[in-house]
Subunit: 351 residues, 2 copies
């Protein structure tokens, strides 16, 4: 079965996703009877393209890697250059392919989750499925967008929004049917956890942060991470989806990590405790991202470096924990791929 | 949609499952359009019953709780008393219900996985679906039984075989599509982990084991747990399913926990290490259950008491860990329920 894909955003994640699709081509075909064709790419600074017969996405990725523009890409037909995001989505909607997926990978806007929410809304209204690695849509507008998706009989999936490709939303929906999530607590931001681990070991804040930036884990502007906004957005998305909350990241009580955290981390260490930035929410409780001193035997206390983990409190299974012990770009790209496969599998119901 | 169920085995797990079905009746109906009716129960020491119109399973559970027999149960029709396991399965196979599920909860036989394997084989041959909490079938005969299930277009599911209802097999199959498992290591036996935790803290082996037996976590005959057989059976099941191995628990290099482990646990503790019974397997490596000294920051080292955890090494997601922090009878019963729901969801493909 043919799936036409339009990529809105073509940064590191979008380009890794395009390459992963290429690497997994045979397996997708054999295991899920799924052929993915990228017909549209829209970028903010490198132009845009749409070609109903398919774009050479490897060439496009190489061009953008080198700082070039898609507008000049030889393999792309000239009648389809320089499209806006909205226009690329509209063109995808006209594809005769049985599956049409908008793959949204723009960066998080913490003010209001835009323009990602508009992209998702427009794609669903145009009867395309949507997968996104952006936290914004689920953190700011989950109920509106999931209800729109239901009405349009399309999917709105965002596994990559929390813990990259390690299944969280898929886990609860597909693998724990009938289980009710009563609450959760976890460590969901890699940069701050790595910094706190380094501070405990005597490092200073500045160099610890700089190392995260060098390794490409923290952004050039790291404020979303260190101010706790990234964790707050993940907390809001988790609470909206799993606890049926109706909140935005601005409703999450929020604390961050800064130079002053070094003393706190060392004090905790001397008491045999570990200072961690813990995200939590539960029915009837204030969702929060807080610096907490954890006892050494807390399952979250042992998480070092860039590891992430979530502990779910459930009705029928007590506490269940899921941990991401490694991270990286491929993991986030896989999250998008797993959502694409989920869309294919749902469709087999209608064959 | 109506599902008729025959329970082969009606011990603690089987009875808790029957009650859980009753507790979840409305949710199953509303969320999955699924009505479960128990039409058969076969026990080893409390008689057996089959009633095509449904058995009053709550009354049956109460009767067996009190040491009584199903044969004398008023609510059960007299034409169907005293059936053998095989006969109960044959009767279920004649049910006109669109779903017919054999729910196997007999106890593990570590010599050859019998008679559970025969029950599963017979049920599949009779075109019933099978769910089981028994490790034997997947540990001794996974390839034969899963291939038989495929040929019969029926399901053979066993989520409860490892870590109770915490999704392991479902997680990999449903929530990590396309991910290849390269190996795993974990702590999968609650009794031995609890004993090792107690030994570290200075307890003696005998009292630590006795406490597990009092709490109903260890069996009256605890040898399957303490000799490492339970962990070896789980290792074989995981390797067969996730690594495409063709082994039995007898192919797993095996170590147990005994009075002599106390000294080892204390020695490890003095070195800042933790002694744990670790199950592991990987492509090309000898599957094993071994006492291992773990560094304190190993994600498995912090698992105390009856907690279980598995760390999967994967191709696209690095290391992913899943932990069961609480345990209990409801968790195992839920494993069976989640498999029943999985069968219902698969069927929606054919509506």
């Amino acid at each position: 079965m043919l799936a036409d894909l339009a990529l809105i955003g073509f940064g590191n994640v979008g380009r890794r996703f395009a390459r992963l699709l290429d690497e997994q081509r045979e397996q997708l075909q054999q295991k899920w009877d799924l052929t993915c064709r990228i017909t549209g790419i829209a970028t903010r600074r490198h132009g845009s393209s749409y070609n109903p017969d398919g774009i050479d996405a490897m060439a496009a990725a190489t061009a953008v890697d080198a700082g070039g523009s898609l507008n000049g890409l030889d393999a792309v037909r000239s009648d389809a250059r320089g499209q806006s995001n909205r226009h690329v989505i509209d063109q995808l909607a006209r594809s005769p392919a049985p599956i049409r997926i908008v793959v949204e990978t723009t960066t998080l806007d913490i003010a209001a989750g835009q323009p990602a929410i508009d992209h998702v809304r427009h794609a669903l209204e145009a009867t395309c499925d949507v997968v996104t690695a952006n936290k914004g849509p689920a953190a700011f507008a989950y109920h509106e967008l999931s209800s729109l998706a239901r009405n349009q009989r399309r999917s709105f999936l965002f596994e990559g929004a929390v813990m990259d490709g390690v299944p969280i939303f898929n886990l609860v929906r597909e693998a724990m049917p009938g289980v009710r999530i009563l609450g959760f607590r976890g460590i969901v931001n890699s940069t701050t956890n790595h910094i706190l681990t380094a501070l405990e070991e005597g490092a200073a804040f500045g160099p610890a942060l700089a190392r995260m930036q060098e390794e490409g884990i923290a952004e050039a502007d790291p404020s979303l991470d260190v101010d706790g906004w990234d964790a707050a957005a993940k907390t809001a998305a988790l609470a909206n989806v799993l606890l049926d909350a109706r909140i935005t990241p601005h409703d999450v009580e929020r604390e961050g990590v800064g130079p002053g955290s070094a003393t706190l981390a060392q004090i905790a260490r001397k008491k045999g405790l570990r200072l961690r930035l813990v995200a939590s929410a539960a029915a009837g409780a204030q969702p929060s991202v807080r610096l907490v001193e954890l006892p050494a035997d807390d399952p979250l206390a042992g998480l070092r470096g860039t590891s992430n983990a979530l502990i779910f409190q459930t009705d029928m299974l007590g506490r269940v924990a899921v941990s991401q012990l490694d991270g990286g770009l491929t993991h986030t790209a896989y999250a998008l791929l797993s959502d694409v496969i989920a869309i294919r599998r749902r469709l087999s119901s209608f064959v």
